[in-house]
Symmetry: C2
Subunit: 228 residues, 2 copies
């Protein structure tokens, strides 16, 4: 039969634990060096090098040389969405990691998903935006309302800038920890950048989790109440 595109190739690429860990780490959006990726994969640099070459040949990664470092990133947003969707799927099937580990709670509270906010806070934000009428959930899509647009302007986000990009403004992204949708798209990215710029939150060095400051936490919860 051999019908359609070859999913076995990319399945096999993702199917190795070391490679899967590297890809998951890169879903954090940050460019990482080969040595760092060897660390997250739990393997030596030699092995990591061959893995990275395969991932690059498969079109999942791109590398950028900078001095004697090589920075690897996911090839594009489509790869990030694929990985995230597989995580959502795996979480739904109970294919979870054996030991949750100490960083799990922080990761579940707030983490970065390629370039936008995910985890409990990400889901909460979208719920609140929908409840307040800033975003309409229509079918399985999301649309920004006029009301929402003016509210965003108040917190310093100019939506007309975002519209000029080819990327969709609002996109819903399934959250693997919450098993519900959070906000992706260029607006999702802009909101997270906004929080980081304001100093409400910051990214951690080696993890995908996002740490809110006490003040940032307060502001965030005020801005996105649960029962709005």
């Amino acid at each position: 039969m051999k019908e359609g595109p070859d999913i076995a190739q990319i399945g096999a690429l993702i199917g190795d634990p070391a490679r899967a860990n590297m890809l998951a780490a890169l879903t954090g959006g940050r460019a990482l060096t080969a040595t760092e990726l060897a660390g997250v994969g739990g393997i030596t640099v030699q092995t990591a090098s061959t893995h990275l070459a395969k991932l690059e040949a498969g079109g999942l990664l791109i590398q950028r040389k900078q001095g004697r470092h090589r920075y690897f990133t996911l090839a594009d947003e489509a790869v990030a969405r694929l990985i995230e969707s597989m995580m959502g799927f795996a979480a739904g099937r109970g294919h979870l990691r054996h030991q949750p580990g100490p960083k799990e709670p922080a990761l579940r509270k707030a983490r970065i998903c390629y370039d936008h906010l995910a985890g409990d806070y990400g889901v909460r934000m979208l719920d609140s935006l929908i409840a307040s009428g800033a975003i309409d959930a229509v079918g399985d899509g999301l649309v920004l309302t006029e009301k929402g647009e003016s509210e965003l302007k108040c917190i310093g986000i100019d939506v007309s800038d975002l519209r000029s990009s080819r990327r969709p403004l609002c996109r819903s992204c399934l959250d693997w920890s919450e098993r519900r949708a959070h906000l992706a798209g260029s607006l999702g990215k802009a909101l997270l950048s906004n929080f980081l710029d304001k100093g409400w939150a910051r990214r951690t060095a080696e993890s995908r989790s996002i740490l809110f400051s006490p003040e940032g936490d307060r502001q965030f919860l005020r801005l996105f109440p649960v029962d709005a």
Copy 2:
């Protein structure tokens, strides 16, 4: 490290060519026996049996015993969506099958995607529904309009029946051959069933392709014109 769900497990399950072929075949929505699946995988029944056991243990497949046959199907629609999304991704990266084969054209024209219409005709149908105002494409979601609902009633589809199901009415699904969206969800299913019931088209025995009769072809093109 070791953040989040284990995508390596399902990646590895899909990563074997024989298993990938079986899964792709099952995306046709039809239940297949172990022997049939061995055929599409290009392996003996013994080997297929072990593969199927692994896929079942991984939650991707379910089996139903019926007499001395065992019928395998995808576990649920989420699996079908995962496979289809991986196909779309793979097609975009150029991970195509080596030789297109003789059945390719028919497959590209019209095929079944779990339970709804895909391929050129699937994409054309959605485009036409949007152009005529029966469906609104809003954000990256799809909504049926009142006008669309009454038009559907004319061709014999009662939307209120569909609404009662928990499954979303309209969903967009990326088509790997056309690289554009077609209509999924319970409405997508209902439309395809409608065509099959009317005798406009029929499913083929061993492939995912859908064959339109000359009359059905005429009716379909009349109902969903390109420049409506």
